[in-house]
Symmetry: C2
Subunit: 153 residues, 2 copies
């Protein structure tokens, strides 16, 4: 049970590191956290996007998103980790606050909130847990709750 | 390589079986295809929904969706399978045609098309490959392509 707890904690740290790297706009760190080609084909779905496959497509998308994001902060909630052997599944809610580049000389564009849920799959490697798949999607209000988030997503 | 090919084919069959069970509205088959609790915590995200965790929540959602779906057909494209040990990752595009219950005596409500991308994670069990996680999300037009799909999602 101690090992299981250690695995779960290590996976949660890798998951947190992924979002912190996004917040810092640290492309090198993002690039390192994704599994390399020798271990298998990675895939990524950003909210509302089609599937991106392979390091080329996936890392280009992060470069593009970072170029268009002046500020981004993730408040993670509902983080659940399930580890099986050398694979781990993480689900979480990304409460996102972000802003694009400013217009007309302001320091920052208007901030928008976004409610996104993510499924992140990690693989154990000699260098630590690495991202095999990320799938994020907007939570759209259907129940009458969270109507404010629908406009932002 | 022969074993790898066999694994990939078996995973693809399990993935197809999942969608065919949905088309038939076969709740028992859906229930069997999801990993049981003894193997770990399952999670499921339907397009626009928050995360559902555990067999109780996940299977209730399928019962609810089936009760509100008179007709559904999945045309799967871009199916990619990546197997690592006892875990497999599948991404695919679900080109969905569906209809709800009819109103005013018609046999079927109006059919709507929907463009959804999915990441499905499978685990190898003694009974075959079983679903550990399903995450589906609407593809929203951003590039000017696929604008027709935005309205349907």
């Amino acid at each position: 049970m101690s090992d299981a707890r250690t695995d779960t904690e290590a996976v949660e740290r890798a998951n947190t590191a992924f979002y912190e790297a996004m917040e810092r706009g640290d492309f090198e760190e993002i690039s390192e956290l994704w599994l390399d080609d020798a271990h298998g084909a990675i895939s990524c779905v950003h909210p509302g996007w089609p599937v991106l496959s392979g390091r080329g497509e996936v890392l280009r998308s992060y470069a593009l998103i970072m170029a268009n994001t002046e500020y981004i902060q993730f408040f993670l909630t509902d983080v659940r980790v399930s580890v099986s052997g050398d694979t781990a599944l993480v689900t979480c809610t990304e409460n996102i606050l972000s802003g694009g580049p400013a217009e007309d000389g302001a320091e920052l564009g208007p901030l928008v909130g976004q409610l996104v849920v993510a499924t992140n799959v990690f693989r154990r490697t000699a260098e630590g847990w690495r991202i095999w798949s990320h799938h994020g999607s907007p939570v759209l209000a259907e129940s009458g709750e969270e109507e404010d988030d629908e406009n932002a997503s």
